[in-house]
Structure formats: structure tokens, C-alpha cells
Symmetry: C2
Subunit: 195 residues, 2 copies
Amino acid sequence: MAEPLTKKQILDATEQVLRKFGLEKTSVVDVAKALNVSHGTLYRHFKSKATLKEAVAERWLHEVSVPLASIVDKEGSAIEKVRMWLEKLIHIKQTKASEDPELFAMYNALAEENVESIEKHIKELISQLAEIVEEGVNAGEFQNDNINEKASAIFFATARFHHPALAKEWTSPNIKKEFNVVFDIIKFGIVKNIK
Amino acid sequence: MAEPLTKKQILDATEQVLRKFGLEKTSVVDVAKALNVSHGTLYRHFKSKATLKEAVAERWLHEVSVPLASIVDKEGSAIEKVRMWLEKLIHIKQTKASEDPELFAMYNALAEENVESIEKHIKELISQLAEIVEEGVNAGEFQNDNINEKASAIFFATARFHHPALAKEWTSPNIKKEFNVVFDIIKFGIVKNIK
DNA sequence: CAAATGACAAAAATAAATATTTGTCATTTG
DNA sequence: CAAATGACAAATATTTATTTTTGTCATTTG
């Protein structure tokens, strides 16, 4: 074989096989077959099946956080950006969950297996929110409170709409309206001189 | 046998057996044994195993909603009562979860099997909150918005702290602080003239 | 000699054989 | 005759036997 196998090739193949067979049914032999290599080869690139799955999970989480980062740099008032950021987060999650529920469930189970990756991911999301909150404080738009606390609170107060463990509840017909009411409370709770 | 078997006796025995064997391992034969009756007898009182489990689940949910109802009638400002009510809800859940995690997980799985019982329970909780919110509006303490929407929003915005699907996250050392920050946002978001 | 292979043991998962549980109902008991 | 029983078939679950999977490493390949 001319070219040596790359990590990216392995991750792509693993994702394909996971999509086809599901989290429970894919073995490293299946992934090796998809790549036409022996399974021993995969162990030269990833030290265990768990490590391989971790790498796939991290790539998946990345696909959530990257598009959100672009909102942080957009134009607009801080409260508008908080709303856009939350709506994008919720849209990404809810779209993935409704368009391909099994795949969504599988990737979340995969992510659950890698608690550290998730914790890092959540921290990254909250620090994106914190950037927006900081802008709001600097512009005199938000009250000058602890920025990180506020960012976490905004994230946690909207957990019902983006936490994968609650995905079952996203099919409620009122979910959009419920978000709007929660967001209004947040807005009145953080913006100065709004009344 | 002198006295005929009552539903309460059966529910008590079922609970005991569930505690001992767990949700997965208890059969109606086990419950019958605990009562020294034949399992056929239980089918004269409950039309199926599912119905019996539903009755146990409803009793469990009742133990959550009853102590909360007493907060609604307490003295104090509406916002104080909202805080007391939320803290009691969270305290009941988190205490049950930490003191006996397996039993808590079992009862939640049991409750999950009975979606209707849960929906009714949530509606009851939200209407308790709505009573407090209504008092706040009538006293001129809260803004005069849609009361039921506000009550739902308060409930959903605090889901992270009381939704059983998120129980794993309650062991975070910052959980109490996180609730306080979320509650402050809610407070500034619903109380009039606070700034 | 870097990269890949494939044979191997231990651990884990699956399938087949066996046993228990659910739910019914004709019969028994007090 | 109201209440409970226990024998029974069909559906579930458990155990045991068998196969697959994971991870290693001495050997092969280009």
C-alpha cells in the first residue's frame, strides 16, 4: 500500500461504520474492514477502542461549538447576540435530534462515555457566552456583575432547551414559546434600565 | 383469611419488595409471596403489573407535591415564597438522590414508565407556582404578565436543579451557587422596580 | 525500517436451551 | 357468593455453551 493510513481516514471510516451499525454494534474489526486493513493496524494509531471513540466524540462536539463561535463576532447589541447564540445552540441540537434521532442518541451516548470531553466542551460554550456578556457590561448595557457566573446562569437556565438528556421534551408543541418566556425573564434579569 | 386484602396493603408490600429487589428484579410472584397470597389474587385488585407499578409511582410523586403545597399558603412576599418553593423542591429531589441514589433512580425509572402520571404531576407543580405568581401580581409585586407562562418559565429555567434526568450533575460542588445566580436572574426578571 | 499483518489469549458478546413470569380462568374455600 | 386459589399457555428472562472482540506482539512486507 502506497500511502500510510492517517488518523483522519480512520476517524472518517469510524464515523461511517458507527452510522451504519450503531454504537453498540460496531467493533474495531468492522472499522478495519471498512478501511481494508487488519485491526492490528488501528492499534498502531489509537491505543484502544475507547481512545478512538473519544476522538470521534470530540470531533462531533467541535461541530457544535465552531458555528457558535462565529456569533460572538457578529454585529449587534449584547442581548441580541445572547439571543442569537442561544437560538443557534438550540437550533443545532434540536435539528440534529429531530432529523436523525438515532444518530443523535448515539453521539450523545458516545459523548457521555467521555465525561472530560464534555466538560471541556461545556466550558468552551460558557466562555463564548461570557465574551458576549463582557461586551454587554463594557457597553453599559448589562449590569456589572460577575461575568462568568452570569454566563453560566444563562446557559443553565436554558438547559431544558439544549441539554441532550432532555431531548425527549423538545417535541412539545410549546417548546418555542417556552423558550421565549424563559428568555424574556433572562433579558429583564440582566439588561439595565429596561423597564 | 379473615380480612380481605386492601389496595394499600398491596402498595405497601410492593414498595417494600421494590426496595429489596429493585425495579428490574421484582415479579408479581415476589409481591404475592411478601403478602402470603397467590399471585392470582393480586390480579383481582390490579388489572396488570403495569397498573400496580403506576399506582406505586403516583404515590411517590404525591410525596413530592404535598409538602410543596404547604409553602403556597405560607406568609411572606411572593418572591420569597417562589424562592422557598424552589428550594424545597430542589431539596426534596436532591436529598432523595443523594441519600439513596439507587432507590431514587428506580423510582424515576418507574415514573418514566408512566408518562401520564408525570405530566399530571408537572402540571400540578406548575399550578402551585402559578398560585404564588398570581399573589405577586395581585399585590403589585410582580409585573402583570401571563401568569401561567411565567410560572412555567420559572419551573423550566430551574430544570437543571430538579429534573431527575440531570441528577448526575447535582453532585457538582458549585450547584448551590449556580442556583443562586439563576434565581437572581429570575428575581430581577419578574419583580417590579427592583433596580 | 516504518508500516502493516495475523495468530493468539483473555475478556466480552451472542445465541440456544432452559426456567420464570405474566395474565386468565375454571375451581375451591370460608 | 365474595374472595382467593392454583393449573395452565404464551411471553419474558436467565443461564450455559459458543462465538466474537479486544488488545498484544513476534513476524512479514515494500
